[in-house]
């Protein structure tokens, strides 16, 4: 967990998003639900796009999901990623119904399939930032 060595971009955590990232540091995956109309949303934001209410609930997710789509990236010239090739970028569809972007780890990139069951894991990028990743169940 050497901060100075982490070369990939980090999230720019703000007032609207910090609940998500604080949960990741607790090893919890959360998404937002509107307390007024019940709509689930990801990514997090302060106001519900369906009804514009600012009543927010954080829903703790099971962390289980399936791969909705993915790509094995063989070329990315950005620092950090250049050294991590090939890596898997995927949309994971959570049991709760929303999809989030993440990396699939814990298996060979060529083993990843759409529909594959995955479970959240957490990677400490730096002392301040923990990222969600997903691995095959």
């Amino acid at each position: 967990m050497a901060d100075a060595k982490y070369a990939k971009p980090l999230p720019r955590i703000d007032e609207e998003s910090k609940g998500f990232w604080e949960a990741c540091q607790r090893r919890e995956l959360v998404i937002q639900r509107c307390a007024a109309c019940g709509a689930l949303r990801h990514y997090p934001r302060a106001l519900c796009p369906t009804c514009l209410s600012d009543a927010v609930e954080w829903v703790r997710c099971s962390g289980r999901g399936t791969v909705y789509t993915f790509t094995v990236t063989h070329q990315n010239q950005a620092p950090g990623f250049r050294d991590a090739l090939p890596y898997v970028l995927a949309y994971v569809e959570l049991e709760e119904g929303v999809r989030l972007l993440a990396n699939i780890v814990g298996c060979a990139p060529e083993a990843v399939r759409i529909g594959m069951a995955v479970q959240v894991a957490f990677e400490d990028a730096t002392a301040a930032v923990t990222l969600p990743t997903f691995a095959p169940v």
């Binding site: 998404i31 709509a39 689930l40 790509t71 949309y91 989030l100 930032v129």
Partner: protein, 382 residues
């Protein structure tokens, strides 16, 4: 007379270069402006509307200064590569509303000679959703690959079907003396090229070139005594598409909304379209655009693009200049869709001319298909 029929395209110019290490971006813009105004038979003094994108953070002001323009209408809408298709619509609306009479749309770029990693450079901007994306390594290219993989999974679309799009564009490029890559390729060549981001191979991806272009839009009245026959703007519409709170079907595009509206405004049907100019950042972009515009049903794009349908002489000639896959792609390609359509409608395309081309559809896609993107559809007629 519809709102859009009050404005016409009076002149176009595609910068001939594909490699310009000896020119600046602004020089390419100025040369393109000179070319389009000469094509129209107008002068820089006639320009009172000005539209551009992608020439810098406050590029429209810098470029106006470079050209010594003080337009009374300007628009710097930047929605990625489709921006210039939108600019035609915005210029037409401004002219119809009396905000200006003659609008110049300009683009120029030295992406290739400055070695910009357009599709594979990673993303780092500071917008709110980026923090849920950039840590995981999206690029422009792999964002499109996410949609391609899903389409293959849901509908059985094959790599061979995507490859046929690249092969067709290359065949067209062979008829365009200015195209950057003109040597024919085969489906096997596409499949043998390295996988850049699965399922997309190198030859499924647009090229990077230098280049630029310009378009002059003016009032129908002003166009009556100009150098070339005016090209009519029959209909147009724009749309945006995003992750939709984490629930978007990635095979849906902004084109699904903009296409039907543009056709309805133009009062034409799919069968009336003689030429399609579709943003071809990647082969999947073309296939999905055809489905979303309604040229075929969702999931049927793979079969639709086969057997030469998109080729010259086929039922729906598409990207007759060779497209971004083979002719030119300086980072934002929308302006070239309109330029080629105008030249086809005027019958100026020589060996790649579509016979009796009367109605052309241009569709620009900007941004990233798997994340956020824009779509702008224009229907043009002679």
């Amino acid at each position: 007379m519809s709102l859009l029929d009050r404005a016409v395209i009076a002149g176009v110019y595609e910068h001939p270069t594909r490699w310009a290490p000896d020119k600046t971006q602004y020089q390419i813009c100025a040369e393109a402006a000179r070319g389009a105004l000469a094509d129209a038979g107008l002068t820089i003094g006639d320009v009172d509307g000005f539209l551009t994108a992608g020439v810098g953070p406050i590029g429209i002001m810098t470029l106006a200064e470079h050209l010594n323009l003080t337009p009374r209408f300007h628009d710097a809408t930047n929605i990625g590569g489709s921006s210039f298709v939108a600019h035609v619509l915005h210029a037409a609306a401004a002219i119809a509303a009396g905000l200006c009479e003659t609008a110049l749309i300009v683009y120029g770029s030295t992406a290739s000679s400055e070695r910009f990693a357009v599709g594979t450079g990673g993303l780092t901007s500071g917008d709110p959703p980026d923090q849920f994306e950039v840590p995981f390594g999206p690029t422009v290219l792999n964002a499109y690959a996410l949609a391609a993989q899903r389409h293959m999974h849901e509908f059985g679309t094959t790599a061979e079907q995507l490859a046929e799009i690249a092969v067709t564009m290359r065949r067209h490029a062979g008829l365009n003396p200015r195209a950057k890559y003109r040597d024919p390729i085969t489906v096997a060549d596409v499949l043998a090229s390295r996988v850049v981001s699965s399922p997309l191979h190198l030859l499924d991806c647009c090229i990077i070139s230098d280049g630029g272009g310009a378009i002059v839009v003016t009032s129908a009245e002003r166009a009556r005594d100009l150098a070339k026959a005016p090209v009519r703007i029959l209909g147009g519409s724009e749309s945006l598409c995003h992750t939709a709170m984490g629930r978007r079907d990635l095979t849906d595009m902004a084109a699904k909304a903009s296409g039907p509206r543009a056709l309805a405004m133009a009062g034409v049907d799919h069968a009336d379209i003689d030429l399609c100019m579709l943003y071809d950042s990647f082969t999947i972009t073309v296939l999905l655009t055809l489905e979303n515009l309604g040229f075929c049903a969702k999931g049927e794009g793979g079969a639709f693009v086969q057997n030469g349908r998109l080729g010259l002489g086929g039922a729906l000639p598409t990207n007759t200049d060779g497209g971004g896959l083979s002719s030119n792609h300086p980072g934002m390609r929308g302006i070239f869709l309109v330029i080629e359509a105008v030249r086809q409608l005027r019958g100026e395309c020589g060996p790649r001319q579509v016979a009796d081309c009367a109605i052309a559809l241009c569709h620009g896609t900007g941004g990233m298909l798997g994340l956020r993107h824009s779509g702008v559809t224009l229907v043009l007629g002679r």
